[in-house]
């Protein structure tokens, strides 16, 4: 059974690249482009891990993360934040809300992101 990864990311190009990389590594990939859709898919599909962007149209990443962590059906799914927000307060906020890791996109390559994903599934 391939592991299921849900990626919630609104930038289509970045999503395309990471999806390609994940598929190449034999993951099953689910996609969402905004917060609501992301939370809905997390509940329905129960992925093994979620890659979550923070700045999203509508419900932002922090809110989605809180929802995921508050819902008993999804609270145990590890969430890795991938964002370009990089101030200490922002990182601390993400980790405090329950993310297992916080990756700044510009400082990580897709390769390194997959390495992190593998560590948590």
């Amino acid at each position: 059974m391939p592991k299921k990864i849900l990626i919630i990311e609104d930038d289509r190009y970045l999503k395309e690249l990471i999806v390609k990389k994940l598929k190449k590594e034999k993951f099953e990939v689910l996609e969402a482009v905004d917060g609501q859709e992301g939370f809905k898919k997390a509940k329905e599909e129960k992925p093994n891990l979620i890659l979550l962007d923070l700045i999203l149209p509508g419900t932002d990443g922090y809110t989605v993360l809180s929802q995921i962590k508050a819902d008993p059906e999804t609270s145990s799914i590890p969430v890795i934040i991938i964002s370009n927000l990089g101030q200490i307060q922002e990182i601390q906020k993400g980790l405090k809300l329950g993310a297992v890791d916080y990756l700044i996109k510009a400082h990580f390559t897709p390769e390194k992101i997959i390495e992190k994903v593998k560590r948590f599934v």
């Binding site: 390609k20 370009n84 990089g86 101030q87 996109k105 390559t109 390769e111």
Partner: protein, 403 residues
């Protein structure tokens, strides 16, 4: 009979004459006295006028002082020698949402019972001496900077003056700036991430094999993009750190650990330049209340300078000490580098200033590092200074008080 009459008449004449003479002297005396009285009246009047004048002047002075105090844009509170409130100006009434007549004469602890006072009273009780620009969030949307000074007057018991300065606007602007930096970081980094990821995957062969020539060019493009990402990072750091005058938040931190982390971060750059970093600690260093991010920036900046403006094969010696008597931490960093010209030494902490030798060694540099560092250290009530000799190197010192 005639004779008798004649005698009587003569006597009468004589008496009349005497009487006239007497009356004349009396007149003269009365006149003289009257004049004397007039004179003293005039003198008295003069004195009275002077007194009135002086009184008027005093009154005016008092009104002027009161007007200054009343119209002052800072809130002012004066406490007498028994620490009872003896004066509160209108601005302080507004800040604390209280009427003067309700609180005048109350002691510090009694004031704690009024709704907006507790946090201020806590601060005033906790610090027993002078207070210099301590930040206090009185309520939502009202951030004050509190100072306390002693009013010393000859032959009078000392009173204390507490000044409440509104810095809400500055803090709001700071918040806006921080939000802007956040947004800018995101907006600038996102397209750069796209370039980075795309190039990286092509280079990794995710989209098929590429020729050596293509690989070479793509690698160079990749590193150019990396430089751009680093540059944005640095720019954001500087903007975020601001001018360092405001502390974001203070927490108890272990400065040894912070220094070690920064050294780890810079070890690679140092090795590249063949520079050895030595770090030693004297005595146990207690934890100190600081804004971690800002102090990390200062330490990083000082170490970076010691590496960049050093000579290949040089040394950087960092020493942390705890001064028990002054209850403060002393950080010192010595390099064996180019040093600072005598002429440049006065301006080394100025904004955008770069020393002549530094510019010769490294063409790129913002001239902000030491400026921001000084502001941060002083915002922590510490001191920063240096010793330097051209061609021999520099030693920078800073202190952090443990409060």
């Amino acid at each position: 009979m005639t004779k008798e009459l004649k005698e009587l008449k003569a006597e009468l004449v004589a008496k009349t004459k005497k009487l006239k003479e007497l009356s004349k002297t009396l007149d003269e005396q009365v006149k003289k006295r009257t004049k004397e009285l007039e004179d003293s009246r005039r003198a008295l009047m003069n004195i009275l006028e002077d007194v009135q004048e002086a009184q008027k002047k005093t009154e005016e002075e008092k009104n002027k002082t009161l007007a200054v105090i009343s119209n002052f844009t800072d809130g002012l509170l004066v406490f007498d020698k028994e620490n009872k409130l003896s004066l509160i100006n209108p601005q302080a009434e507004i800040f604390l949402e209280i009427k003067a007549k309700k609180v005048i004469g109350k002691s510090l602890s009694e004031l704690g019972n009024f709704s907006n006072f507790p946090s201020l009273v806590r601060l005033l009780i906790k610090e027993d001496k002078e207070i210099f620009r301590k930040e206090l969030t009185l309520k939502k949307n009202l951030i004050l900077e509190i100072s306390r000074v002693t009013i010393e007057r000859p032959k009078k018991e000392n009173e204390t003056l507490v000044i409440l300065h509104n810095i809400t606007r500055e803090k709001t602007v700071e918040k806006m700036k921080s939000d802007f930096v956040s947004l800018a970081a995101h907006q600038l980094r996102t397209p750069l991430s796209g370039i980075k990821w795309g190039l990286n995957m092509i280079l990794e062969g995710d989209f098929g094999k590429i020729t050596e020539e293509q690989k070479d060019i793509l690698e160079k493009t990749y590193f150019t993009n990396e430089r751009m990402i680093t540059l944005i990072g640095e720019l954001l750091d500087i903007t975020r750190i601001e001018e360092g005058r405001f502390l974001y938040k203070s927490t108890k931190e272990n400065i040894v650990e912070i220094t070690e982390k920064v050294i780890d971060l810079l070890e690679r750059i140092a090795q590249k330049q063949k520079i050895k970093i030595e770090f030693s600690i004297e005595e146990d260093i207690p934890e100190v209340k600081i804004d971690r991010e800002k102090i990390s920036f200062c330490i990083q900046n000082l170490i970076e300078n010691a590496i960049i403006y050093n000579n290949p094969g040089g040394k950087v010696t960092i020493l942390l000490k705890y001064d028990k008597t002054k209850n403060q931490i002393l950080f010192s960093i010595k390099d064996t580098g180019i040093g600072i010209l005598k002429d440049d030494q006065d301006r080394i902490f100025s904004k955008f200033f770069r020393g002549v030798l530094a510019m010769k060694k490294e063409t790129v540099g913002s001239g902000l590092g030491l400026f921001v560092t000084k502001n941060v250290i002083e915002a922590h009530e510490g001191k920063i200074w240096f010793e330097s000799e051209e061609g021999k190197g520099s030693t920078f010192y800073f202190t952090l008080p443990i409060t």
